[in-house]
Structures are given as structure tokens and as C-alpha cells.
Amino acid sequence: MPVIKKTDSNIRYGGGAIVVPGLESHANDPFVVKKNEEAKLAVSKLVLPVSKKT
């Protein structure tokens, strides 16, 4: 498991993600799978808003 030392530099004001090859995937963690299944059921009944795209 990667470790980041506790320093002020952990807080940033801009910029995107730092790409690190080989981070552990959590897509199949039981909590994630359960959340995705619950969400799938919820959105199947959801009335979506009209897009406000201009």
C-alpha cells in the first residue's frame, strides 16, 4: 500500500490527478459492488433532468 508523508504539500490549489501505474483496483470491493448495484436499481427508476447545456 503506498504511503504519503503528512506534509502541507499534500494540499494543492490546482492541477489534476497524478498518474501512478499499478494502483490497486477497488472496483470489485464488496462495498463498491453493492453500491453500484443499488445505484443501478435507483437510476432505472429515476426521472432525469433536462440538460441545461448551452
Partner: protein
């Protein structure tokens, strides 16, 4: 969006991790996006702490690390990065309990002016999505990058 946020890491722009820093120490946070509907495309955002023992995601513990706004801003940044790589689709998010959802809502309310610079944000009540308003209790949230 110019809110302070934590450094966040990714391998594929679909899963992210970062460390919350506060009185409780350094707490590893995880964010994942998973496609849950094709037409229109909707992704589910799952967010939680990495379990200290298993390393797996859960959100059963309230960290109370006194950095809620920085954590929420970091999650918002992961949404921006995700949309940049996977498209501006709807993203659905809901806490694992009503209390957790309420915490998310309070955080969104506090950062609403900044968040709405980049996102349309909606609150879900009884299977319908409405433009997000402060002081309204929602069951879940739906966001889409502008």
C-alpha cells in the same frame, strides 16, 4: 474550480485515491466510477475510506478529520478528471446511510457556488432529480459537468 484539495492519484482515471490529513492522522480515501446505465450513460460514484486491515473501500466510519470541505473538493476534482477522460455524463452519488447523504449535502451546500462553476448539480427526491437547492433534504445527487 480553485478550491484547495488534496493531491490525488490514479492509474486509469476511473479510480482515485488520496489521503485526508487532520487530527485523526492520515486517512486513505478511495473514489471509484462505474458505468451503471448505457442510455443515457450514467456512472456511479462510490466514495469511502480504505479499511485499515483489508485495504478495501467502506464508508461505515465517520472520519471526523475536520477537513470535510477539502475532501469534498478533492472528490469534485476527481469528477472533473474523470469527465475529461470518459466524457461529460451524469454521475450519481448517494451516501450509504441517510446521515451520510446528509453530510454530503451539507458539504455540497457549503461549496455550491464553486461547484456550480463546473457542474450542474441535482438533488434526487422520490425518483426525480431537481436543481440542487440549499436547505432541501435529498436522497441522492446527480452531477454533470457543464
Amino acid at each position: 474550480m480553485n478550491l484547495p484539495h488534496y493531491t490525488y492519484l490514479t492509474t486509469d482515471y476511473q479510480e482515485y485515491e488520496f489521503y485526508s490529513e487532520g487530527p485523526k492522522g492520515s486517512i486513505k480515501k478511495l473514489v471509484t466510477f462505474a458505468k451503471i446505465q448505457e442510455e443515457p450513460v450514467i456512472y456511479n460514484l462510490a466514495f469511502g475510506d480504505a479499511d485499515l486491515i483489508t485495504g478495501q473501500m467502506n464508508d461505515s466510519v465517520t472520519s471526523n478529520n475536520e477537513d470535510r470541505d477539502i475532501v469534498l473538493a478533492t472528490v469534485a476534482h476527481t469528477v472533473i478528471d474523470f469527465c475529461h477522460h470518459y466524457g461529460d455524463h451524469f454521475i450519481y452519488a448517494k451516501g450509504s446511510t441517510p446521515v451520510r447523504t446528509r453530510l454530503y449535502q451539507m458539504g455540497i451546500s457549503g461549496l455550491l457556488d464553486e461547484i456550480t462553476l463546473n457542474f450542474d448539480i441535482y438533488g434526487v427526491i422520490e425518483n426525480a432529480a431537481y436543481p440542487f437547492e440549499r436547505n432541501v433534504n435529498y436522497e441522492a445527487f446527480l452531477v454533470k459537468r457543464k
